[in-house]
Symmetry: D2
Amino acid sequence: MSHASAAPRRYSYLGPAGTFTEAALRQVPEAEGQVWNPVDNLGEALNDVVTGASDAAMIAIENSIDGGVTVAQDALATIPGLRIIGEYLVPVRFVLVARPGTALSDVSVVAGHPVAYAQCRAWLDGAAPTHRHLVATSNVQAAADLFDPTKGVDAAIAPPGIEAHYDVEVLAEGIAENPDAVTRFVLVSRSVPVGDPTGADKTSLMVELPEDRPGALLDLLEQFAARGVNLTLLASRPIGDRMGRYRFVIDAEGHVKDERVADALLGVKRFSPKVSFLGSYPRADRVAATIRDLHDDDTFRDARDWLRGVIEGTRDGEA
Amino acid sequence: MSHASAAPRRYSYLGPAGTFTEAALRQVPEAEGQVWNPVDNLGEALNDVVTGASDAAMIAIENSIDGGVTVAQDALATIPGLRIIGEYLVPVRFVLVARPGTALSDVSVVAGHPVAYAQCRAWLDGAAPTHRHLVATSNVQAAADLFDPTKGVDAAIAPPGIEAHYDVEVLAEGIAENPDAVTRFVLVSRSVPVGDPTGADKTSLMVELPEDRPGALLDLLEQFAARGVNLTLLASRPIGDRMGRYRFVIDAEGHVKDERVADALLGVKRFSPKVSFLGSYPRADRVAATIRDLHDDDTFRDARDWLRGVIEGTRDGEA
Amino acid sequence: MSHASAAPRRYSYLGPAGTFTEAALRQVPEAEGQVWNPVDNLGEALNDVVTGASDAAMIAIENSIDGGVTVAQDALATIPGLRIIGEYLVPVRFVLVARPGTALSDVSVVAGHPVAYAQCRAWLDGAAPTHRHLVATSNVQAAADLFDPTKGVDAAIAPPGIEAHYDVEVLAEGIAENPDAVTRFVLVSRSVPVGDPTGADKTSLMVELPEDRPGALLDLLEQFAARGVNLTLLASRPIGDRMGRYRFVIDAEGHVKDERVADALLGVKRFSPKVSFLGSYPRADRVAATIRDLHDDDTFRDARDWLRGVIEGTRDGEA
Amino acid sequence: MSHASAAPRRYSYLGPAGTFTEAALRQVPEAEGQVWNPVDNLGEALNDVVTGASDAAMIAIENSIDGGVTVAQDALATIPGLRIIGEYLVPVRFVLVARPGTALSDVSVVAGHPVAYAQCRAWLDGAAPTHRHLVATSNVQAAADLFDPTKGVDAAIAPPGIEAHYDVEVLAEGIAENPDAVTRFVLVSRSVPVGDPTGADKTSLMVELPEDRPGALLDLLEQFAARGVNLTLLASRPIGDRMGRYRFVIDAEGHVKDERVADALLGVKRFSPKVSFLGSYPRADRVAATIRDLHDDDTFRDARDWLRGVIEGTRDGEA
């Protein structure tokens, strides 16, 4: 049977070409040779997925310096029908660029994507203390904004290599605060059957806590700890209805088809008034979870066999 | 419909007629009209069950004053193939009896079952400070021992009403320390399929702890607490191989066919190097367990349905 | 001795007059009649405190919609010598304003403080889908930017009442997503002796977790739970040295001079490689903590008395 | 310097000479050359201490096979004013002895201390299936009972070496079930100031649980676990007022003058409606507790210093 006539797959990402998001998408083997659709912002990217205009969207979810991309976390928490299917890491470096002939001392308005700006702000506060910040929709668009006279931009925060795409000069390199900064991206599709474990997986959830229980967060964390499931991320986001109410963004080591993770999720589901499963997918860093014997799949299956035998009376109850 | 040809069921109990154990057996409706086999000690009673000589044995397992009947706990922990199928409570009161004509001041040797003796000891230490204790095999046998001249017994600790069976005089009544004392009995059979929950059940286990984990008992207890399963008994017994190694005797509220109890048992089984299931059976006091919503059977089933939908991608992961 | 010649106290806040931060400062009775110093950004405000230029600074720390003001959280975590001395809540409402004669359809560039912009973005995406965002340093400055021709601003997100200060027309009211939105502010001074408890207090901490312990966050939370201390905020912020390392921003109910809080802090301090105490201060909402008997001050003192007696042998060890 | 005129110290123990209890007392260097007072039972030994007739009493508290000596545990829980000041281990071996000329087949009545009898019962059930048990007040008294014609004793369970004191023949050696059996003894005095830690200490408590809290035992154990204090013994004993109410017998590693143990005891005291401190004393096995850095004395002191500085404002709150 031939797939010759199959429509190509379509990927939305924060464009244009040259962004870190594009660099993340380049890490996806299945995306090679397919249609890449640059968009202007997160909402557009996720909307493409929801409407079926695209098969998947690559979005930034966390930065090692600036923390969670809260607008992306909130979108995943509130838009139904989405599923994370992959995770990718991209090192983050920045240069300050300007139109040829501009001196650093001339810089008054700096275009930059807000996440990039946060990481370069310390340097900018030193080098251009009176600068103002104009929000750009992407790191590449910041450079493009230099050539839109209506914007009045003097300099732009952009990725290294930007001078290959635009007629700009580099005023300064390495302007981000931390040379080891990295941004974590996730590839998001509509809800699909969960893939198989690779042995180095991650599972993402959004969980609300019951309101009437002191120590509810402790109880939530114990659902994971009791099954030997480590968390790589725990962040709180306001639910938004009033001050002091939060949902928790959780990344757990392991795959929902791992017995210990499934059991932990059952515990979380029984406990939480609202839990969203966002996906189980291979970890970007390929680090396998450390699993003690008492939490491996065989131990879970043995326990179920034992319980069945005990109830049927065919086992005498001895371990 | 006729059961005429069915062999009668046979029950072993600590005899002779008149013991508290017999009083416990009288509480078993199914035992009425069947064969009751009085035996001399716990070992004989359980051996009857193991060999099939009897269908079940009634044994004392705990006293509200003296604590666990450790020899019975140890027997249940070490003899394979046994199952607790019922629980019964018998109020415990004692009289001191003697051959007619004996005065309290004449009493030098007192026959008594060790558990009875422990409860009456304070009174005896006051009334007959120099008495010696001769171990009797049952509370009724203690009275019988008065008429065995080779034993040199002067008085016996016996249940009220004993004078109906033996030619004895009551020297003193109410000699046990606590007027509200009660003994808990269990009916033991060979391993059989577990019966159905009644809504007021108890589940008995023997559990050994992993050796290499500090806080292992805490982890064990959390297996129950995390599922809202209360314990009515937690006792430690030496495993016997060396000082400081214990197994734990556990009675938990609920039935192994209750979802929360089954889930707790799976957790215990995964964690423990050796766990023995001793039975799920109706509680003697008929007190129903208090179950919060998040631990009831429906919540467990809903969580499993949710997880299945999430894995298949037919649910969008929202609660 | 006369205070007549005492220098007035000086308060820095995000200006100019009319900002929500100014509204928060108006809630501070001690600030009345003192010097109020409007500044352009958080860094300037905190710097005034560090250098002694101001006695205190009012800063926004959390919004009920947008979450923690991460730059403020990170500043408090990394700048030594600061102390929170008060907490204030300000309801947050926004209007969209423009120079007289501007129609909504003319709006291309919108000035707004980033937190305000986040709350009004949904409305703007609907009403002006192609708008661009220019970052303003405050909600009032956004309106002022309308009159700076170098900025090319068409409309501004501003607080209600702004038309009293600037020659603007209101294009739309109530443009924030949630009508109940509120922003939480804290008043920050240099380190000073902690004040006395009021019975409705809050204690703020920044805590790093030990790296070598799975379940470390669980252990941290148990330090509070074991003393009956509820948390009103738990947020994670990247430490910044590498992906996956977080510090935790914690607000706990109660005052460091409450015994249970002091004991919890001792536990946290023993456990954490780095903990910063940011202050104990009256809660803005004046809600008193619910304290069970076993966590009140008397219980703590009684236990210490008992332990002393036990060690000295003057108490027999009975409770 | 001379102590010539000091009154000798007086030690009560379960006599007569030759018992395991005497062997335990021989391990006490301070008891050498003092007055040793053999008594008939536990009650008498403890009464000597309470009345001041003796300075201390040596009592058996646990056996590696038979478990806790419950009557001793209950006595320590209910008699006020006692303090454990030392712990000793004695290996337990037994021989069966009789008057010269007696054959094993002649044995009908066997004298034995109940704890000894429990350990030899399996052997006796095999070698003399129809034997009866006469309770002896000590292992040595069992041999003496052979020569009291009023008792009708045929054989006695006694310690090896008994033939040096009585004219008996050994019918069988090594009749106890476990060749590694050991009994743990404690030396008990009136309440005295607690001694200093040796680095390998144990602390004994009796603790009742609050009635109104599910999971109360878990909370109790967490008081120890949270401070890194391991338990070497946890046993439950009925309080005696009704079925299902227990107090807990606890031996914890460490000394009440160790910071982590003191802090755990404060936690227990705040939580429990009734806690009895029974003493901190050197462990018989001289095994030092394993203490992690976060639970050592310096860590506790550092935390207190930090908290004081934080409250006074002389430390900026940084760790």
